[in-house]
Symmetry: C2
Subunit: 206 residues, 2 copies
Protein backbone atom coordinates (compact mmCIF):
# COMPACT_ATOMS: atom_id res chain seq x y z
CA UNK A 1 0.00 0.00 0.00
CA UNK A 2 1.12 3.52 -0.78
CA UNK A 3 2.45 5.44 2.23
CA UNK A 4 1.10 8.92 2.95
CA UNK A 5 3.32 11.14 5.09
CA UNK A 6 3.16 14.45 6.96
CA UNK A 7 -0.59 14.83 6.60
CA UNK A 8 -1.93 17.43 9.05
CA UNK A 9 -4.22 16.07 11.75
CA UNK A 10 -6.88 18.60 10.72
CA UNK A 11 -6.91 17.14 7.21
CA UNK A 12 -7.40 13.64 8.59
CA UNK A 13 -10.17 14.99 10.82
CA UNK A 14 -12.04 16.30 7.75
CA UNK A 15 -11.68 13.12 5.69
CA UNK A 16 -14.66 11.29 7.25
CA UNK A 17 -16.74 14.40 6.39
CA UNK A 18 -15.69 14.09 2.75
CA UNK A 19 -16.47 10.38 2.85
CA UNK A 20 -19.97 11.01 4.17
CA UNK A 21 -20.54 13.71 1.57
CA UNK A 22 -19.42 11.45 -1.30
CA UNK A 23 -21.46 8.54 0.11
CA UNK A 24 -24.60 10.63 0.62
CA UNK A 25 -24.49 12.67 -2.58
CA UNK A 26 -23.38 9.59 -4.53
CA UNK A 27 -26.56 7.91 -3.35
CA UNK A 28 -28.45 10.69 -5.08
CA UNK A 29 -27.07 9.53 -8.42
CA UNK A 30 -24.35 12.14 -9.03
CA UNK A 31 -21.34 10.99 -10.99
CA UNK A 32 -19.01 13.86 -10.12
CA UNK A 33 -18.75 16.45 -7.37
CA UNK A 34 -16.82 19.71 -7.62
CA UNK A 35 -14.93 21.21 -4.68
CA UNK A 36 -17.49 24.05 -4.81
CA UNK A 37 -20.41 21.63 -4.38
CA UNK A 38 -18.60 19.87 -1.56
CA UNK A 39 -17.81 23.22 0.05
CA UNK A 40 -21.45 24.32 -0.01
CA UNK A 41 -22.51 21.02 1.44
CA UNK A 42 -19.87 20.87 4.18
CA UNK A 43 -19.63 24.57 5.05
CA UNK A 44 -15.93 24.56 4.15
CA UNK A 45 -14.07 26.49 1.45
CA UNK A 46 -13.11 24.97 -1.94
CA UNK A 47 -9.32 25.60 -1.74
CA UNK A 48 -9.23 23.86 1.64
CA UNK A 49 -11.02 20.84 0.22
CA UNK A 50 -8.75 20.68 -2.86
CA UNK A 51 -5.66 20.92 -0.65
CA UNK A 52 -6.91 18.22 1.72
CA UNK A 53 -7.74 15.78 -1.06
CA UNK A 54 -4.48 16.48 -2.91
CA UNK A 55 -2.45 14.97 -0.04
CA UNK A 56 -3.68 11.57 -1.11
CA UNK A 57 -3.08 11.79 -4.85
CA UNK A 58 -4.61 13.55 -7.78
CA UNK A 59 -8.04 12.07 -8.14
CA UNK A 60 -9.98 15.14 -9.25
CA UNK A 61 -10.20 16.66 -12.75
CA UNK A 62 -10.30 20.43 -13.27
CA UNK A 63 -13.69 21.55 -14.55
CA UNK A 64 -15.23 18.14 -13.93
CA UNK A 65 -14.71 17.42 -10.26
CA UNK A 66 -14.11 14.29 -8.25
CA UNK A 67 -15.63 11.01 -9.45
CA UNK A 68 -18.03 10.15 -6.62
CA UNK A 69 -17.72 6.41 -6.18
CA UNK A 70 -13.98 6.18 -6.88
CA UNK A 71 -13.21 9.03 -4.47
CA UNK A 72 -15.37 7.50 -1.74
CA UNK A 73 -13.59 4.18 -2.23
CA UNK A 74 -10.18 5.89 -2.14
CA UNK A 75 -11.00 7.75 1.10
CA UNK A 76 -12.22 4.48 2.65
CA UNK A 77 -8.86 2.91 1.81
CA UNK A 78 -6.90 5.85 3.19
CA UNK A 79 -8.85 5.82 6.45
CA UNK A 80 -8.75 1.99 6.60
CA UNK A 81 -12.53 1.95 6.54
CA UNK A 82 -12.61 -0.41 3.54
CA UNK A 83 -12.59 -3.34 5.96
CA UNK A 84 -15.10 -3.90 8.75
CA UNK A 85 -13.74 -2.55 12.05
CA UNK A 86 -14.95 -4.13 15.27
CA UNK A 87 -15.61 -1.95 18.30
CA UNK A 88 -16.70 -2.64 21.85
CA UNK A 89 -19.12 -0.31 23.61
CA UNK A 90 -18.67 0.31 27.32
CA UNK A 91 -21.77 1.65 29.04
CA UNK A 92 -25.37 0.58 28.50
CA UNK A 93 -26.97 3.68 30.00
CA UNK A 94 -29.07 6.15 28.02
CA UNK A 95 -26.21 7.30 25.80
CA UNK A 96 -24.79 3.79 25.34
CA UNK A 97 -28.21 2.47 24.37
CA UNK A 98 -28.65 5.29 21.85
CA UNK A 99 -25.23 4.47 20.36
CA UNK A 100 -25.87 0.72 20.20
CA UNK A 101 -29.00 1.39 18.14
CA UNK A 102 -27.49 4.07 15.89
CA UNK A 103 -27.38 2.91 12.25
CA UNK A 104 -24.73 5.52 11.35
CA UNK A 105 -21.81 3.31 12.41
CA UNK A 106 -22.41 0.86 9.57
CA UNK A 107 -21.87 3.60 6.94
CA UNK A 108 -18.24 3.85 8.09
CA UNK A 109 -17.75 0.10 8.35
CA UNK A 110 -17.91 -0.03 12.16
CA UNK A 111 -19.39 -3.09 13.79
CA UNK A 112 -20.30 -2.89 17.47
CA UNK A 113 -19.30 -6.40 18.46
CA UNK A 114 -19.94 -6.39 22.24
CA UNK A 115 -21.49 -4.23 24.96
CA UNK A 116 -20.31 -4.03 28.57
CA UNK A 117 -21.75 -2.48 31.74
CA UNK A 118 -21.05 -2.94 35.44
CA UNK A 119 -24.66 -2.62 36.69
CA UNK A 120 -25.92 -6.07 37.83
CA UNK A 121 -29.45 -5.10 36.73
CA UNK A 122 -28.25 -4.60 33.15
CA UNK A 123 -25.84 -7.54 32.74
CA UNK A 124 -27.47 -10.32 30.72
CA UNK A 125 -30.09 -8.06 29.13
CA UNK A 126 -30.04 -7.42 25.40
CA UNK A 127 -29.76 -4.17 23.45
CA UNK A 128 -29.53 -3.99 19.67
CA UNK A 129 -29.27 -7.77 19.54
CA UNK A 130 -26.23 -7.96 21.85
CA UNK A 131 -26.19 -9.32 25.41
CA UNK A 132 -24.78 -6.83 27.92
CA UNK A 133 -21.66 -8.32 29.51
CA UNK A 134 -20.02 -7.59 32.85
CA UNK A 135 -17.30 -4.90 32.59
CA UNK A 136 -15.25 -7.08 34.99
CA UNK A 137 -14.77 -9.45 32.05
CA UNK A 138 -13.54 -6.75 29.65
CA UNK A 139 -9.99 -8.15 29.53
CA UNK A 140 -11.38 -11.17 27.65
CA UNK A 141 -11.67 -9.11 24.44
CA UNK A 142 -7.89 -9.54 24.14
CA UNK A 143 -8.44 -12.84 22.37
CA UNK A 144 -10.54 -11.18 19.63
CA UNK A 145 -9.50 -8.78 16.92
CA UNK A 146 -11.00 -5.70 18.55
CA UNK A 147 -8.93 -2.53 18.28
CA UNK A 148 -11.60 0.10 18.88
CA UNK A 149 -13.75 1.01 21.87
CA UNK A 150 -16.51 3.51 22.61
CA UNK A 151 -16.62 4.80 26.19
CA UNK A 152 -20.05 5.98 27.32
CA UNK A 153 -19.69 5.81 31.11
CA UNK A 154 -19.38 8.38 33.91
CA UNK A 155 -16.09 10.25 34.10
CA UNK A 156 -14.94 8.68 37.38
CA UNK A 157 -14.89 5.17 35.92
CA UNK A 158 -13.44 6.10 32.52
CA UNK A 159 -9.69 6.05 33.30
CA UNK A 160 -9.73 2.58 34.91
CA UNK A 161 -11.76 1.30 32.03
CA UNK A 162 -9.40 2.87 29.47
CA UNK A 163 -6.41 1.21 31.20
CA UNK A 164 -8.09 -2.20 30.90
CA UNK A 165 -8.97 -1.54 27.25
CA UNK A 166 -5.39 -0.59 26.40
CA UNK A 167 -4.08 -3.75 28.11
CA UNK A 168 -6.61 -5.76 26.12
CA UNK A 169 -5.19 -4.46 22.85
CA UNK A 170 -7.49 -1.53 22.06
CA UNK A 171 -5.69 1.11 19.97
CA UNK A 172 -8.39 3.70 19.38
CA UNK A 173 -11.03 5.06 21.76
CA UNK A 174 -14.04 7.24 21.08
CA UNK A 175 -14.40 8.84 24.53
CA UNK A 176 -17.81 10.25 25.36
CA UNK A 177 -17.09 10.53 29.09
CA UNK A 178 -16.57 14.11 30.25
CA UNK A 179 -12.92 13.65 31.17
CA UNK A 180 -9.52 13.41 29.53
CA UNK A 181 -7.80 10.07 29.50
CA UNK A 182 -4.12 9.27 30.00
CA UNK A 183 -3.10 6.56 27.54
CA UNK A 184 0.18 5.46 25.89
CA UNK A 185 1.18 7.44 22.79
CA UNK A 186 0.33 4.51 20.50
CA UNK A 187 -3.33 4.77 21.50
CA UNK A 188 -5.44 7.40 19.74
CA UNK A 189 -8.29 9.10 21.55
CA UNK A 190 -11.15 11.11 20.07
CA UNK A 191 -13.03 12.84 22.88
CA UNK A 192 -16.49 14.23 22.25
CA UNK A 193 -18.37 16.19 24.90
CA UNK A 194 -21.60 17.43 23.34
CA UNK A 195 -21.77 20.40 25.71
CA UNK A 196 -18.22 21.37 24.78
CA UNK A 197 -18.96 21.04 21.06
CA UNK A 198 -21.85 23.45 21.56
CA UNK A 199 -19.48 25.85 23.36
CA UNK A 200 -18.54 27.75 20.20
CA UNK A 201 -22.10 28.62 19.12
CA UNK A 202 -22.75 31.71 21.29
CA UNK A 203 -19.51 33.27 19.97
CA UNK A 204 -21.01 33.39 16.47
CA UNK A 205 -24.32 34.93 17.53
CA UNK A 206 -24.12 38.63 16.68
CA UNK B 1 -16.41 45.11 24.77
CA UNK B 2 -13.12 44.57 22.97
CA UNK B 3 -13.49 43.28 19.39
CA UNK B 4 -11.47 40.29 18.31
CA UNK B 5 -10.94 39.95 14.55
CA UNK B 6 -9.66 37.41 12.05
CA UNK B 7 -9.53 34.57 14.53
CA UNK B 8 -9.28 31.23 12.72
CA UNK B 9 -12.28 28.95 13.13
CA UNK B 10 -9.98 26.18 14.36
CA UNK B 11 -8.82 28.41 17.21
CA UNK B 12 -12.42 29.11 18.22
CA UNK B 13 -13.11 25.39 18.03
CA UNK B 14 -10.34 24.71 20.56
CA UNK B 15 -11.37 27.43 23.02
CA UNK B 16 -14.07 25.35 24.78
CA UNK B 17 -11.39 22.66 25.28
CA UNK B 18 -9.17 25.20 27.00
CA UNK B 19 -12.11 26.34 29.09
CA UNK B 20 -12.86 22.84 30.26
CA UNK B 21 -9.18 22.24 31.04
CA UNK B 22 -8.93 25.44 33.10
CA UNK B 23 -12.25 24.68 34.82
CA UNK B 24 -11.33 21.07 35.63
CA UNK B 25 -7.71 21.59 36.64
CA UNK B 26 -8.66 24.77 38.51
CA UNK B 27 -11.06 22.64 40.54
CA UNK B 28 -8.02 20.63 41.62
CA UNK B 29 -6.61 23.71 43.33
CA UNK B 30 -3.96 24.77 40.80
CA UNK B 31 -3.26 28.50 40.57
CA UNK B 32 -1.38 28.48 37.25
CA UNK B 33 -1.18 26.21 34.23
CA UNK B 34 1.65 26.23 31.69
CA UNK B 35 1.09 25.65 27.99
CA UNK B 36 3.06 22.38 28.46
CA UNK B 37 0.64 21.16 31.16
CA UNK B 38 -2.33 22.13 28.99
CA UNK B 39 -0.75 20.40 25.99
CA UNK B 40 -0.26 17.14 27.90
CA UNK B 41 -3.80 17.30 29.15
CA UNK B 42 -5.40 18.15 25.81
CA UNK B 43 -3.13 16.16 23.47
CA UNK B 44 -2.16 19.37 21.63
CA UNK B 45 1.22 21.04 21.27
CA UNK B 46 2.37 23.99 23.44
CA UNK B 47 3.10 26.48 20.58
CA UNK B 48 -0.39 25.89 19.19
CA UNK B 49 -1.94 26.61 22.57
CA UNK B 50 0.15 29.77 23.11
CA UNK B 51 -0.76 31.00 19.62
CA UNK B 52 -4.47 30.31 20.15
CA UNK B 53 -4.60 32.10 23.50
CA UNK B 54 -2.54 35.03 22.22
CA UNK B 55 -5.33 36.02 19.80
CA UNK B 56 -7.33 37.20 22.76
CA UNK B 57 -4.69 39.20 24.60
CA UNK B 58 -1.62 38.47 26.64
CA UNK B 59 -2.87 36.77 29.74
CA UNK B 60 -0.05 34.30 30.33
CA UNK B 61 3.34 34.95 31.96
CA UNK B 62 6.51 33.28 30.67
CA UNK B 63 7.84 30.73 33.16
CA UNK B 64 4.71 30.95 35.31
CA UNK B 65 1.85 30.09 32.98
CA UNK B 66 -1.75 31.15 32.74
CA UNK B 67 -3.62 32.12 35.90
CA UNK B 68 -6.34 29.47 36.10
CA UNK B 69 -9.44 31.30 37.27
CA UNK B 70 -8.77 34.55 35.40
CA UNK B 71 -8.08 32.70 32.15
CA UNK B 72 -11.23 30.59 32.51
CA UNK B 73 -13.22 33.77 33.15
CA UNK B 74 -11.65 35.47 30.12
CA UNK B 75 -12.42 32.53 27.82
CA UNK B 76 -16.01 32.49 29.08
CA UNK B 77 -16.31 36.16 28.12
CA UNK B 78 -14.78 35.63 24.69
CA UNK B 79 -17.10 32.72 23.95
CA UNK B 80 -20.09 34.58 25.49
CA UNK B 81 -20.47 31.77 27.98
CA UNK B 82 -20.32 34.17 30.94
CA UNK B 83 -24.10 34.50 30.74
CA UNK B 84 -26.58 31.63 30.87
CA UNK B 85 -27.55 30.56 27.33
CA UNK B 86 -30.95 28.97 26.83
CA UNK B 87 -31.31 26.07 24.38
CA UNK B 88 -34.23 23.99 23.20
CA UNK B 89 -33.85 20.29 22.64
CA UNK B 90 -35.73 18.68 19.75
CA UNK B 91 -36.13 14.93 20.11
CA UNK B 92 -36.96 12.97 23.24
CA UNK B 93 -35.76 9.60 21.96
CA UNK B 94 -32.82 7.69 23.45
CA UNK B 95 -30.22 10.28 22.47
CA UNK B 96 -32.43 13.25 23.41
CA UNK B 97 -33.15 11.74 26.80
CA UNK B 98 -29.44 11.17 27.40
CA UNK B 99 -28.75 14.80 26.49
CA UNK B 100 -31.56 16.19 28.66
CA UNK B 101 -30.04 14.43 31.66
CA UNK B 102 -26.39 15.26 30.91
CA UNK B 103 -24.92 17.52 33.60
CA UNK B 104 -22.10 18.69 31.29
CA UNK B 105 -24.16 21.49 29.72
CA UNK B 106 -24.26 23.45 32.98
CA UNK B 107 -20.42 23.71 33.04
CA UNK B 108 -20.62 25.82 29.87
CA UNK B 109 -23.58 27.88 31.06
CA UNK B 110 -26.13 26.14 28.85
CA UNK B 111 -29.65 25.76 30.15
CA UNK B 112 -31.97 23.35 28.36
CA UNK B 113 -35.17 25.35 28.65
CA UNK B 114 -37.64 23.19 26.71
CA UNK B 115 -37.93 19.76 25.06
CA UNK B 116 -39.99 18.96 21.97
CA UNK B 117 -41.00 15.74 20.25
CA UNK B 118 -43.67 14.83 17.71
CA UNK B 119 -44.61 11.39 19.11
CA UNK B 120 -48.07 11.58 20.75
CA UNK B 121 -46.99 8.94 23.29
CA UNK B 122 -44.18 11.21 24.51
CA UNK B 123 -45.89 14.62 24.51
CA UNK B 124 -46.88 15.60 28.04
CA UNK B 125 -44.40 13.25 29.74
CA UNK B 126 -41.49 14.63 31.74
CA UNK B 127 -37.76 14.15 31.32
CA UNK B 128 -35.15 15.93 33.44
CA UNK B 129 -37.90 18.00 35.04
CA UNK B 130 -39.22 19.35 31.72
CA UNK B 131 -42.54 18.46 30.08
CA UNK B 132 -42.15 17.22 26.52
CA UNK B 133 -43.98 19.60 24.17
CA UNK B 134 -45.43 19.00 20.70
CA UNK B 135 -42.94 19.87 17.91
CA UNK B 136 -45.91 21.41 16.05
CA UNK B 137 -45.77 24.21 18.63
CA UNK B 138 -42.06 24.92 18.13
CA UNK B 139 -42.68 28.32 16.53
CA UNK B 140 -43.88 29.55 19.95
CA UNK B 141 -40.29 29.78 21.21
CA UNK B 142 -40.03 32.97 19.15
CA UNK B 143 -41.47 34.91 22.08
CA UNK B 144 -38.65 33.75 24.40
CA UNK B 145 -34.96 34.58 24.35
CA UNK B 146 -33.83 31.25 22.94
CA UNK B 147 -31.05 31.42 20.35
CA UNK B 148 -29.73 27.86 20.53
CA UNK B 149 -31.18 24.48 19.66
CA UNK B 150 -30.05 20.87 19.87
CA UNK B 151 -31.40 18.57 17.14
CA UNK B 152 -31.58 14.90 18.14
CA UNK B 153 -34.11 13.59 15.64
CA UNK B 154 -33.95 11.34 12.56
CA UNK B 155 -32.31 12.86 9.49
CA UNK B 156 -35.50 13.02 7.39
CA UNK B 157 -37.20 15.39 9.83
CA UNK B 158 -34.18 17.54 10.57
CA UNK B 159 -34.34 20.05 7.69
CA UNK B 160 -38.01 20.99 8.25
CA UNK B 161 -37.32 21.34 11.94
CA UNK B 162 -34.24 23.50 11.30
CA UNK B 163 -36.31 25.79 9.03
CA UNK B 164 -38.87 26.30 11.83
CA UNK B 165 -36.12 26.94 14.37
CA UNK B 166 -34.48 29.56 12.15
CA UNK B 167 -37.83 31.30 11.64
CA UNK B 168 -38.33 31.25 15.40
CA UNK B 169 -35.09 33.15 15.95
CA UNK B 170 -32.60 30.37 16.62
CA UNK B 171 -29.06 31.38 15.58
CA UNK B 172 -27.01 28.35 16.56
CA UNK B 173 -27.78 24.65 16.18
CA UNK B 174 -26.00 21.61 17.56
CA UNK B 175 -27.04 19.05 14.94
CA UNK B 176 -26.86 15.41 16.01
CA UNK B 177 -28.97 14.19 13.11
CA UNK B 178 -26.95 12.35 10.47
CA UNK B 179 -27.52 14.92 7.72
CA UNK B 180 -26.31 18.33 6.65
CA UNK B 181 -28.66 21.26 7.05
CA UNK B 182 -29.22 24.20 4.72
CA UNK B 183 -29.58 27.37 6.80
CA UNK B 184 -29.02 31.08 6.18
CA UNK B 185 -25.42 32.27 6.59
CA UNK B 186 -26.24 34.06 9.86
CA UNK B 187 -27.06 30.72 11.50
CA UNK B 188 -24.14 28.65 12.78
CA UNK B 189 -24.30 24.87 12.74
CA UNK B 190 -22.12 22.40 14.61
CA UNK B 191 -22.81 18.89 13.31
CA UNK B 192 -21.70 15.89 15.32
CA UNK B 193 -22.11 12.36 14.02
CA UNK B 194 -20.48 10.01 16.52
CA UNK B 195 -19.78 7.41 13.83
CA UNK B 196 -18.09 10.06 11.68
CA UNK B 197 -16.01 11.29 14.64
CA UNK B 198 -14.80 7.73 15.10
CA UNK B 199 -13.90 7.59 11.40
CA UNK B 200 -10.32 8.79 11.91
CA UNK B 201 -9.36 6.16 14.50
CA UNK B 202 -8.47 3.22 12.21
CA UNK B 203 -6.10 5.50 10.24
CA UNK B 204 -3.91 5.86 13.33
CA UNK B 205 -3.77 2.14 14.11
CA UNK B 206 -0.41 0.88 12.84
Amino acid sequence: MMKYRRIPEETIRRMPRYLRAFSTLGGHGRGFLSSRQLADYLHLNPPQIRKDLSYFGDFGTRGVGYPVSQTAEQIRKILKLDVSQKAVLIGAGRLGTAIASYPGFAIFGFNIAAIFDNAPAKIGKKIAGLTIQDTARLAAIRSGDVHLAILAIPGEAAQTCADTLVQAGVRGILNLSPCWLRVPKRVKIVSIDLAMEMGTLPYYIK
